[in-house]
């Protein structure tokens, strides 16, 4: 908003929306009337391209950064778990999220300290940029996803000590120290064919993501030993460097275009035959807006 030429990412959809006066110099689509443009900016990327005049606009889009191959493999696996071959979401009532975002760290600086006694001590500084998360996407769960590319014997048991700290740059104070909150926990798991380990960091990251933090800066220290945790004599360090973790966010997208499974379940129960009314209020399972109070319903029925 300060400089004329600068464009500001729109908080609701993460799309770039130019201030009034520079719109005409930018993308032809931004010359749409304001009302149309506001609606247009709200569209998630897939619907934005479907509403474009033609694929040429989309092909002129800046080339995308290629995702990490391991992350891609994991998300394809997740897709197969959640959707049928035709792409229809499986009627899985257990989860309320309709969006899962995977972020790979955009920058990392490794400080490797070798300490033979305790195994390969591996600390990584990670920065995740969450610009793509829109204001209408509410966080339900966040997970650090590790993939171990090791040639460890299958079904070996591993115990890892993980130390996680988040660096928040506090701009309010003059000195602006980087306050870091940290958490330490141990992790014990068996390495089977599947080499994914998920660490739930929901409560740890919730305050940051809830305040619409766009960048999350964290340091992760990892020490792993293989063998029986009860009998330390049998334990020996593993010379393995876990690949820097990805950050998985499970979100509930409350926008009109997103699929709200509890709504369709509620709809089927209520009026099984008639086609769904489009303007029914979206019920947010976590909030109580849009819910009628039972007395009100009974009273109206009695009337």
């Amino acid at each position: 908003p300060h400089s004329r030429a600068r464009v500001v990412p729109d908080k609701t959809s993460g799309l770039v929306v130019a201030p009034e006066d520079t719109a005409s110099e930018l993308h032809p689509l931004l010359q749409l009337p304001k009302s149309l443009r506001r609606g247009y900016a709200l569209l998630p990327p897939l619907l934005k391209v479907l509403s474009d005049r033609g694929p040429r606009n989309w092909e002129s889009e800046a080339p995308r950064l290629q995702p990490d191959s391991r992350a891609l493999r994991y998300m394809k696996r997740l897709y197969k778990m959640f959707a049928t071959k035709e792409g229809v979401p499986k009627a899985n009532k257990s989860h309320l999220y309709n969006t899962v975002r995977l972020f790979t760290p955009c920058s990392e600086c490794k400080h490797r300290h070798r300490d033979l006694m305790k195994g390969d001590f591996h600390s990584v500084d990670l920065l995740f940029n969450l610009d793509r998360v829109t204001a209408l996407e509410h966080l339900l769960k966040s997970v650090l996803l590790y993939s171990f590319d090791t040639s460890l014997p299958i079904s070996s048991s591993i115990t890892c000590m993980c130390h996680l700290s988040v660096k928040e740059h506090d701009f309010s104070s003059q000195v602006c120290p980087s306050i870091s909150r940290s958490i330490a926990f141990s992790l014990h798991f068996e390495v089977r064919k599947r080499k994914w380990v998920k660490i739930d960091v929901t409560s740890f990251l919730q305050p940051l993501i809830a305040t619409n933090r766009r960048n999350i800066h964290m340091a992760v220290n990892f020490t792993c030993l293989m063998g029986d945790p009860q009998n330390t004599k049998l334990e020996y360090p593993i010379n393995m460097a876990p690949v820097p973790p990805s950050l998985l966010l499970y979100l509930n997208d409350t926008s009109e275009q997103a699929y709200h499974r509890w709504n369709s379940l509620r709809h089927i129960r209520k009026n099984p035959v008639r086609p769904r009314q489009r303007n029914s209020p979206r019920v947010d399972p976590l909030g109580d807006k849009g819910k009628e109070n039972p007395q009100g319903k009974r009273a109206s029925r009695r009337r």
């Binding site: 998630p44 391209v49 792409g87 229809v88 979401p89 940029n129």
Partner: protein, 131 residues
């Protein structure tokens, strides 16, 4: 009804069952039609990873005059048809449109290289109606 009687041929048709069939199963009546596309045809497979094929389906066909029971249409549809036939033919006849949909799960690569799994509402037509 009286009109259809006037139109009825004086001489009974040779094959009565064929004659009545046209009333029981009118040709190209409003119904759901199959349509499958792959995102590679649209050259979007660089950023839409899954599904590979997508069947949005569509509704096409004529809306019969008495649509009440068969399509779950509101009474307004018949009123609109009568207006079209008897009062003002510039008012459009009822159209054959989707009445119910299925959602679609899509896996896409975002411009910043992150990957998103999203479930979109109303992406596959599953039922047609006349409105």
């Amino acid at each position: 009804r009286d009109e259809s009687l006037k139109e009825a041929p004086a001489i009974p048709p040779s094959n009565l069952s064929d004659y009545f069939k046209q009333f029981l199963f009118p040709q190209n009546e409003c119904e759901l039609h199959n349509f499958r596309l792959s995102f590679s045809q649209l050259k979007w497979d660089k950023w839409i990873i899954a599904p590979h094929r997508y069947s949005p389906q569509y509704c096409k066909g004529d809306c019969p005059r008495v649509v009440g029971h068969r399509y779950g249409s509101p009474v307004h549809t018949m009123v609109q048809n009568i207006i079209y036939e008897k009062l003002d033919s510039s008012v459009p006849k009822p159209s054959c449109v989707p009445a119910e949909y299925n959602p679609l799960s899509v896996l896409t690569i975002e411009p910043d290289g992150s990957i998103v799994y999203k479930e979109y509402e109303d992406m596959i037509a599953t039922k047609c109606t006349c409105r």
